[in-house]
């Protein structure tokens, strides 16, 4: 009986099922934690007003409640915001200290440019120096006031971009001057006009900056006077307010609208407040562009390498050693790739490029410092073995009859390769590509030393010539997670953003791999061979 039991291998079957379910459970747990914490971040919570037994008040969102292990007392964590007033965003209160909790409809939640959220009550508006105490409890006048300063803000934005433009021109002229100096032509017929133009632009610059400062002063005349729960007055310039809501009066539709608005900001806006607030657009853009560049650079290389190894290289000790080496490349820690990328691409190749083409800017590096090109190349190096192995396996899996049949019809090896083998191998190659892409999307360590930054001043693609700036540093979702989760000055306040960023990164990987999988399935349906 027991002999039969062991012979049929029941325990082994259980073990296989068990290990699969374990893997699945862990994966689901991870996704669940990220989803559960990430999806609700932008949903507006009610604002609670807690009356404490010492007759003081606390206003904020109740984040969680639990039993303090040391004393066994129930306690509540409030997000009290108002960092400029209280220094702390979060605070614990013992439940027994709280006399009552109400949800006042007039409570405001302000998202601000600086110092995080503000929770409080509106006393009055002061528009252009004119106090309007009548406009104090409804949201609409505040919204109208916020809208009224928009033209002024637009003017400031226009002035800012004008300053950037002037700066760029000045920089161009200075670069020309530096090049002339570098070539030893101190007295060229260009130097005179260049200097004149430079002065003209400098004067222009001073004028625009003065105008900008005047407008900014003007803008500060529009203020809202708020009070916190205990009546402490806080004057907040309207320009500081990103968004104002009264969550306790919002119905489900208003909340949904707010949620969508926040999502839109997440996808399309720049980050604020050392990345813990605002949008993720530069990081999303950087991540996608990095993976795209990486694919463009490493995919053809890997496929061609795989083709050579399988189709053309004579099987021998050398090829076998190359194969072993390629397989083992995948096991090298990614930070080692990063260091190699830094030494070889950044300092080696980048340094040479600078010497040859950007000598006048030295010692300031152009390509000789981390940038999206070098980061992509480093990631490409990291993923190319996966593509090579996948290509080789896919070509090897094609029945030999196909090759013979094609060659018997007077096709050359190359024709057989391009007309039959590559299309037939494409699903397998795409599988390797998917794996490579997923791996690249998740890598952070090699990027940290080859060009990723906390906050990039400009995107790698923009409207200034030559449009594609491969030398620029970039932002990346994976690094963003590390940065705001572990390097941020206010880790507790950044926590929701960590989850959101993680969710977004998973989502991007999912979208890209699903696209590739869809493509692969189409190819597979088209080129599968029925092996009878």
């Amino acid at each position: 009986m027991t002999k039969k039991f062991w012979r049929q291998g029941e325990p082994y079957v259980w073990a296989t099922g068990l290990s699969l379910s374990l893997i699945l459970m862990l994966t689901f747990l991870l996704v669940y934690v990220v989803m559960a914490n990430g999806i609700g971040v932008f949903w507006p919570n009610r604002i609670a007003l807690a009356t404490l037994k010492d007759n003081s008040f606390v206003l904020g969102e109740i984040i969680q409640e639990n039993i303090k292990p040391a004393t066994g007392q129930k306690r509540l964590q409030f997000k009290i915001g108002n960092r400029d007033l209280y220094d702390l965003d979060f605070k614990w209160f013992n439940a027994e200290d709280i006399a009552a909790i109400t949800y006042p409809p007039r409570a405001y939640l302000l998202e601000r440019q600086e110092y995080g959220n503000f929770y409080g009550f509106l006393n009055q508006l002061e528009l252009n120096g004119l106090a309007r105490p009548d406009l104090n409890d409804k949201l609409e006048p505040l919204e109208a006031a916020l809208k009224s300063i928009e033209p002024l803000q637009d003017e400031i934005t226009a002035l800012n971009s004008r300053i950037a433009e002037i700066n760029q021109r000045i920089e161009t002229i200075q670069r020309k001057q530096a090049r002339l100096r570098h070539q030893g032509k101190a007295e060229d017929r260009q130097t005179g006009p260049l200097a004149a133009r430079d002065q003209e632009l400098q004067a222009d610059f001073t004028k625009v900056v003065a105008e900008l400062n005047r407008k900014k002063q003007e803008l500060l005349q529009f203020e809202a006077v708020f009070a916190d729960a205990n009546g402490l007055i806080k004057r907040i310039p309207l320009v500081e307010i990103v968004r104002a809501i009264q969550p306790n009066t919002m119905n489900i539709f208003a909340k949904t609208g707010y949620y969508i608005e926040r999502l839109r900001e997440l996808f399309f806006a720049e980050p604020r407040e050392s990345n813990t607030e605002g949008g993720l657009f530069p990081a999303i853009f950087g991540t996608i562009m990095l993976i795209f560049l990486m694919s463009v650079l490493s995919f053809p290389l890997g496929v061609i390498g795989g083709i050579y190894l399988r189709e053309y290289a004579k099987d021998g000790i050398l090829v076998r050693m190359v194969r072993i080496a390629v397989n083992n490349l995948a096991g090298i820690p990614s930070i080692v790739y990063g260091i190699f990328g830094l030494g070889f691409f950044v300092y080696g190749i980048g340094g040479q490029i600078d010497q040859l083409f950007f000598a006048e800017r030295l010692p300031a590096p152009t390509f000789g410092t981390g940038g999206i090109l070098w980061a992509s190349l480093t990631l490409g190096l990291l993923t190319v073995p996966v593509v090579i192995v996948a290509t080789e396996e896919a070509l090897g899996a094609i029945p030999p009859g196909i090759r013979e049949g094609s060659q018997a019809l007077a096709a050359t090896r190359f024709q057989t390769l391009t007309r039959l083998l590559l299309p037939m191998a494409s699903p397998g190659i795409l599988t390797g590509f998917i794996l490579a892409m997923a791996r690249a999307a998740g890598e952070v360590a090699p990027l940290m030393i080859t060009g990723v930054v906390k906050l990039a001043p400009a995107l790698p693609i923009d409207s200034s010539f030559p449009f594609l700036h491969l030398n620029r540093k970039f932002m990346h979702l994976g690094f963003h997670i590390y940065d705001i989760g572990f390097q941020s000055p206010n880790v507790e306040a950044a926590k929701p953003m960590v989850y959101v960023t993680t969710l977004l990164l998973i989502l991007i990987v999912l979208i890209m791999t699903s696209t590739a999988i869809y493509l692969r399935n189409k190819m597979r349906a088209r080129y599968s061979v029925i092996d009878v």
């Binding site: 049949g405 037939m424 009878v532």
Partner: protein, 262 residues
């Protein structure tokens, strides 16, 4: 030619002439001093037990063995008087002249239409009328036209085994070869499909020189004009099929065809 051997008939004006062919896979010899001539527009069958070198031999005729590593050929094969192993000979031209049908049908994962014209496309022919005409003619010759004419652009993978093998024959015919090599084309087919292919071979004879490897002695007797019996890499007997099956010269041949051995 080697010394006169009564068991091996001499063919006048053979289209394929094999002279003292020796073939080695590394150290082991797969063909030993094989010499005979194959007449034009006839069906020549190669029979013999497994591993006797039949397939290896016909794969020499279109130099399919080039793909195999570690293989060495000595001796001479001439087609229409030309040495096919001569360095100046273009193997692509040779394969255009000598088509091949394999034991295991191997249609490409393309449409029926594309399968038939694969060889033409490779040769750079893209004239739609020529291609259409070739598809119809080739499929008709391969006795497949009536079955597939309504789904020419459907996948070849939807055909039955026998149909796929006939498609492979059509594909071979499409490039108008002079010689067609068939390496056990029916061994994986059921009797009905086999009969179909045999009919087809009989119809093609007279237009093409067909060299067929088969395990099935009845098949060789039914369809071939000449038969060669091989054993352990050597050509034992070769002659007109009628004679070989009724009055074999050699004892080994008789043992094999009567089933006492093999």
């Amino acid at each position: 030619m080697s010394a006169i051997n009564p068991a091996i008939v001499t063919i006048d004006n053979p289209q394929v002439e094999i002279d003292n062919l020796n073939l080695f896979y590394g150290e082991s010899q797969a063909l030993k001093n094989v010499s005979f001539g194959i007449p034009q527009f006839n069906v020549t069958a190669l029979i013999g037990p497994s591993g006797c070198g039949k397939s290896t031999l016909i794969r020499c005729i279109n130099r399919m063995n080039d793909l195999v590593d570690n293989l060495r050929v000595e001796g001479l094969i001439k087609i229409d008087g030309e040495d096919i192993n001569h360095p100046s000979l273009d193997v692509i031209e040779l394969r255009r002249k000598v088509g091949m049908v394999f034991q295991k049908w191997n249609p490409f994962p393309k449409s029926i239409y594309e399968n038939v014209i694969y060889g033409l496309r490779i040769a750079g022919i893209s004239n739609k009328e020529v291609l259409d005409a070739t598809v119809e003619k080739s499929l008709q010759k391969a006795a497949l036209w009536n079955e597939v004419k309504d789904r020419l652009h459907g996948s070849a993978m939807g055909l039955s085994g026998g149909q796929m093998q006939r498609l492979c024959i059509a594909r071979t015919i499409a490039v108008s070869p002079e010689i067609i090599l068939m390496d056990e084309p029916c061994s994986a087919l059921d009797p009905r499909s086999t009969a179909h292919i045999e009919d087809l071979i009989r119809e093609l004879q007279g237009e093409y020189t067909i060299i067929i490897v088969t395990h099935n002695m009845q098949q060789a007797a039914r369809i071939s004009d000449y038969t060669a019996y091989m054993y352990l890499g050597e050509l034992i007997e070769y002659g007109p099929t009628n004679k070989l099956f009724t009055m074999p010269e050699r004892k080994e041949t008789e043992d094999y065809i009567t089933g006492r051995f093999g």
